[in-house]
Amino acid sequence: MRLARLLVAFALASLAALPACDDDDFCRPGAPCECSGGNECYLNCEGTGCSETCHDLDRCGGICGDVCNFNCHNMDECSAYCGDACSASCHDTVACGIICGADCDYRCNNASRCSAQVGPGSTVTCRGLTSCEVTCAGTCAVDCEGVGRCQVWCGADDDTPTDCTNGASCGC
């Protein structure tokens, strides 16, 4: 009887200590998804409110929906493809690129090249780059500082970019 009570107590304690587990281990909204080390990694998260991080590898790409947070650093190539109101950053990287929807906020720091194709109402901040090239579909603000060449195109068909080099803040 005493043994049975001990067994029941242990079982109950074990159940209480059981960590929460999930059935879907793919990147999902609300849970951080991280990739590091190795050669390549491409994270895909469907839905609103994803959070993805990539660092210390050769190439990485993050794909996510609206209100996404994407960060990458310390690699050769990093790209992001996200919907509206996404917030992305890329630093200590050779090439950074993004295609995003409206109201996105993209920050490039300490990289060789940074290219962005952003939707209306977006903000792009470039710091310490060789080049920063932004194509805006609608209104946008581009802030370059310490950038060798900073250019902004207002629309995909715009052939005459605005030069925002030398600390000038400009946009469309």
């Binding site: 043994l3 793919f26 951080p32 991280e34 190539e77 690129g97 290219s115």
Partner: protein, 213 residues
């Protein structure tokens, strides 16, 4: 986690050694063949700790629960004049690994190049985080050495099947555990089990209680 577990293992080992040295020779039963309480089944629920990447998708540190059932198949082991015995153990361990970022990598299936010549991946598949729940099904031969009225140790060679919640299935053809029990009474013990060597389980420890029937 590794340093903590190492300290715990060291402390337990020291405790065992001191206990064996300090107690009377009469309590040491290792040279008295068959001199112990016999049992048919050992039921051992336990907590599981893993602190490195196991095979498959899982990575990072692991925490979980498991149970081991061991059936005594021989009251006398392989060595004459020694108090040893042999059992067959089967079990299930469910371990949740928190992921270290080294999991499913994903593949870019469509890349476009934007102004400035930077490629942007716009479609990917197969990616995922690597926080994974892993199920192990070990089958082992348990070789027991009944050292003392309070202490016994065992080695467990065997194999294990694994299955994770990403659907990955695999087999570890050779595993080995080493463990020890502190006997609280004739039919209840505290039991510690370590994977030795670390591969293929990854560094892995289980701590629980054993009930001998």
């Amino acid at each position: 986690m590794p340093a903590t577990l190492l300290r715990i293992a060291l402390a337990l080992t020291t405790l065992v050694a001191l206990s064996l040295v300090s107690t009377s020779a009469a309590a040491q039963v290792i040279r008295q063949e068959g001199q112990r309480e016999h049992y048919s089944v050992e039921l051992e629920p336990h907590f599981v700790f893993g602190w490195s990447d196991p095979p498959g998708n899982a990575s990072g540190d692991g925490l979980g629960l498991g149970v081991r059932g061991t059936f005594e198949i021989s009251k006398y082991g392989f060595i004459k004049k020694l108090n040893d015995s042999v059992g067959i153990g089967v079990g299930l361990d469910l371990v949740f690994y928190d992921g270290s970022g080294q999991g499913p990598r994903g593949t870019c299936v469509r890349m476009v190049t934007i102004r400035g010549g930077v490629p942007v991946c716009v479609e990917a598949e197969g990616s995922g985080d690597d926080n994974t729940t892993l199920a192990w099904f070990p089958v082992v031969m348990q070789w027991n050495f009944w050292l003392h009225k309070r202490w016994s140790v065992f080695g467990e060679p065997g194999l294990a099947l694994r299955y994770d919640d990403l659907g990955d299935f695999g087999i570890a053809p050779f595993i080995f555990f080493a463990g020890g029990r502190f006997h609280l009474s004739y039919n209840a013990t505290l039991t510690l089990r370590l994977s030795v060597p670390y591969a293929p389980f990854g560094p892995y420890a289980a701590f629980g209680a054993s009930f001998l029937f």
